[in-house]
């Protein structure tokens, strides 16, 4: 779930945009360099971005029957590395805002920070850590996908808490509220996304 | 598995973008007979087949199997899927597993059959489609024609009573068309009723026992030599008149063919014509 247009106060919207900018610009540089050396990679990167967009259209099956969609940034970070994902993730967010009314333009910075920066880096970090300690590909993918999904929602919750501190218990209380609503409920879905990632990579590695 | 009669009455399908795709379309697939669904691209052929298969729920109208109406409930659809299977035109969007055998086993596995039974179904389906030699090949290495037949095998492994095929011969070369038609004949003998959609009127005339033309959001059904000789209808449907009907009519008028001879293809026409009275070179 991305933060809707107009929901964040202007100062927060600007602040998060500034925070996300270095990562996105870094990603853009990587993309520009890649494309300059190899013009065909425009198509490959475009296909990667389209894949991440479309992945979020897959319904995660859930026990309760309510449906939810994967963020897809974990698999993107593992396949394309976090810098590229920072850019592709932002492009995907722009498309989600303008094609699905999911997210917004002034909240693009805040959403990019959660979805295209924190999620991919956390997921990629978890994946590398597990691989480095001798874990297999699939456990690495599982941890990467779960963490990318979960940290995205935790970041979004904290962004909201920062913007709307609780009237009586302040920041901590607000964090508890938003985490409770947006992140804790996400835990089973994050695990679902991890499972999806494992199944996806299992199919890919069999090929 | 046995031949079943599938029918649709008064189907109405409206797309969100405004215009209706089907508006009161009715169709009967007689058990055990070959039905060709004809129509130009965009006429609604695929929509009609998707309604028949249960994949698309019409706004109004009913789909029936041996008279029993299809319910769009979980349970109703599950039963329907074991009776009717649809194979779409593009095989690439239906082959989603790594190897041919794996892909064909997808349906039987989901039916909860045991391993031996799944293997038997896969072997049977590959055999019926004459692609048993491809069993352990990766799907992406197959030619277009092979992929099309493997996609059909995936549906056949569900042992459907009625098999709906959307443009099974489109894009195939003549020998692949011949092989596909031979496979369909085997399926028919194996008690699956086969329906195919096509815009190839010559093929429809040659193959079908009955044709259904999708035109003006509805369906006109009848005998191939009647319906495909109806020029105003064909004009509205943006289809051609099969050459064999045009040439056959003239040759009958010339007295070269018996008045009741309606050849359906070149071989039939040549067989019906008298041998040459002239000296052969």
């Amino acid at each position: 779930m991305h933060i809707a247009e107009g929901f964040l106060p202007a100062s927060h919207a600007v602040g998060w945009t500034v925070a996300a900018a270095p990562f996105v610009v870094h990603g853009a540089r990587a993309v520009v360099k890649e494309v300059r050396e190899n013009p065909e990679s425009t198509l490959l990167l475009g296909a990667a971005g389209a894949f991440v967009f479309v992945l979020s259209a897959i319904k995660l099956p859930s026990v309760t029957g309510s449906s939810s969609h994967p963020t897809g940034t974990g698999v993107g970070a593992i396949l394309f590395r976090p810098p590229v994902m920072a850019l592709l993730g932002t492009v995907v967010l722009l498309f989600q805002a303008l094609l699905l009314a999911h997210g917004g333009l002034t909240t693009l910075g805040a959403n990019a920070f959660a979805f295209a920066v924190v999620g991919p880096w956390a997921g990629y970090g978890a994946y590398r850590l597990i691989r480095a300690f001798g874990g297999g590909l699939l456990p690495g993918v599982f941890a990467g996908m779960v963490l990318a999904d979960l940290t995205t929602y935790v970041t979004t919750s904290l962004q909201l808490a920062l913007a709307f501190p609780d009237a009586s218990s302040g920041l901590a209380g607000a964090a508890a509220k938003f985490l409770g609503i947006f992140a804790v409920t996400q835990i089973p879905l994050a695990i679902g996304e991890g499972l999806l990632g494992v199944l996806l990579f299992r199919v890919l590695t069999v090929n | 598995m046995s031949h079943r009669s599938l029918a649709a009455q008064g189907l109405v399908v409206g797309y969100e973008r405004g215009a209706r795709v089907l508006d009161g379309a009715s169709l009967t697939v007689p058990a055990g007979r070959r039905l060709a669904v004809l129509g130009a691209n965009g006429s609604g052929k695929t929509t009609l087949l998707r309604c028949l298969s249960g994949a698309l729920r019409p706004t109004a109208g009913a789909v029936t199997v041996d008279g029993t109406q299809l319910e769009h409930s979980r349970r109703g659809l599950r039963a329907h899927r074991q009776t009717v299977q649809l194979v779409l035109q593009d095989p690439d969007d239906q082959l989603f597993s790594a190897s041919v055998a794996q892909d064909v086993s997808f349906g039987p596995l989901n039916l909860g059959l045991d391993e031996a039974e799944v293997r038997a179904r896969v072997a049977e389906a590959l055999d019926l489609l004459a692609v048993d030699h491809l069993g352990d090949r990766p799907t992406h290495q197959l030619s277009y024609g092979e992929r099309k037949r493997v996609a059909i095998a995936g549906a056949v492994a569900m042992r459907p009573c009625v098999l709906l095929l959307d443009e099974p011969t489109a894009g195939l070369d003549p020998s692949a068309v011949t092989e596909t038609l031979a496979a369909l004949a085997r399926l028919q003998d194996h008690d699956s009723t086969v329906v195919m959609s096509t815009h190839d009127v010559d093929l429809a005339l040659r193959w079908a026992d009955e044709v259904a033309v999708v035109v003006d959001r509805t369906v006109v059904q009848g005998r191939p030599d009647d319906v495909l000789d109806d020029r105003p209808l064909l004009g509205r449907a943006r289809l051609d008149r099969p050459w064999a009907l045009a040439v056959g009519a003239r040759l009958r008028a010339l007295g070269l063919l018996p008045v009741d001879a309606i050849p359906r293809d070149a071989a039939g026409l040549l067989a019906a014509l008298p041998e040459s009275p002239a000296v052969r070179r």
């Binding site: 425009t42 303008l98 009314a101 999911h102 709307f164 609503i181 | 239906q94 989603f96």
Partner: protein
């Protein structure tokens, strides 16, 4: 091919041939007003203007607009309620001014969402992306984004078809099977995306791919009358808000 409702609306809207720059200015102005002006009456005015323009002169189907606004509405409802609930050691209660704060939050967000949606339902992405170029976004990034825009429809189409084929073969008849099928589906879409990119490389090589994916945007000239009206309208919203608030 079935597309996305908002995108379909953009291609058929009566404002399709208006300059994307003009529409960006109008919608951007409305978004800023929604964000900065007091919710009463600023957000209300912005919301009314955005919806009025979309359903009126831009002739966006009301159904499309209404459906698209549901997603932000859900977020705003949950988010605003959470923001105005107070928790402390004693338990949960309403924060002071809860109703007013929730109303203001919802007002800003819904007005802003309506303004963005006005842009989204009148301007296809392929008109907007060239505008990014003028905002000094690197050429390569704009080209990647335009390929994303083209391919996402191709992949969405594959996704829908594959899912339909899986469903027909009972792939979603239990939770376990649903998971397995979804994994296979995701992998299949990923391989399709690679395959598509590879095939496009071959397909475009003959038209000069080695110099990038430059294209010529349609000539959609700016309208002075539109700009003047936009300026006057935005000024009016600001003035009215400051006067009333």
């Amino acid at each position: 091919m079935t597309g996305l409702a908002v995108d379909d609306a953009a291609w058929t809207s009566a404002w399709r041939h208006r300059s994307p720059g003009d529409k960006l200015l109008l919608c951007g102005g409305l978004v800023v007003c929604a964000l900065l002006l007091p919710a009463w009456p600023g957000s209300v005015l912005v919301g009314l203007v955005a919806v009025g323009l979309a359903l009126g002169p831009a002739r966006v189907p009301a159904r499309t607009f209404g459906r698209a606004v549901r997603l932000p509405l859900a977020f705003v409802t949950v988010g605003a309620l959470t923001a105005v609930v107070a928790v402390d050691g004693d338990g949960i209660g309403w924060a002071p001014d809860a109703a007013a704060r929730a109303g203001s939050l919802a007002g800003h967000a819904l007005a802003g969402s309506a303004a963005v949606l006005l842009l989204a339902t009148t301007t296809p992405m392929s008109d907007l992306l060239p505008a990014l170029r003028r905002m000094r976004v690197p050429e390569a990034v704009v080209e990647v984004a335009s390929v994303v825009y083209r391919l996402l429809f191709v992949l969405l189409d594959s996704l829908r078809t594959i899912r339909e084929a899986q469903t027909a073969r009972m792939g979603y008849s239990s939770l376990r099977r649903s998971y397995r099928s979804s994994g296979v589906l995701a992998a299949a879409v990923l391989t399709r995306s690679w395959d598509r990119a590879r095939r496009m490389q071959a397909g475009l090589a003959g038209r000069g791919l080695e110099t990038g994916l430059r294209v010529l945007p349609e000539a959609l000239p700016s309208s002075r009358a539109f700009l003047v009206t936009t300026g006057a309208g935005l000024a009016g919203i600001v003035a009215a808000s400051l006067a009333i608030a």
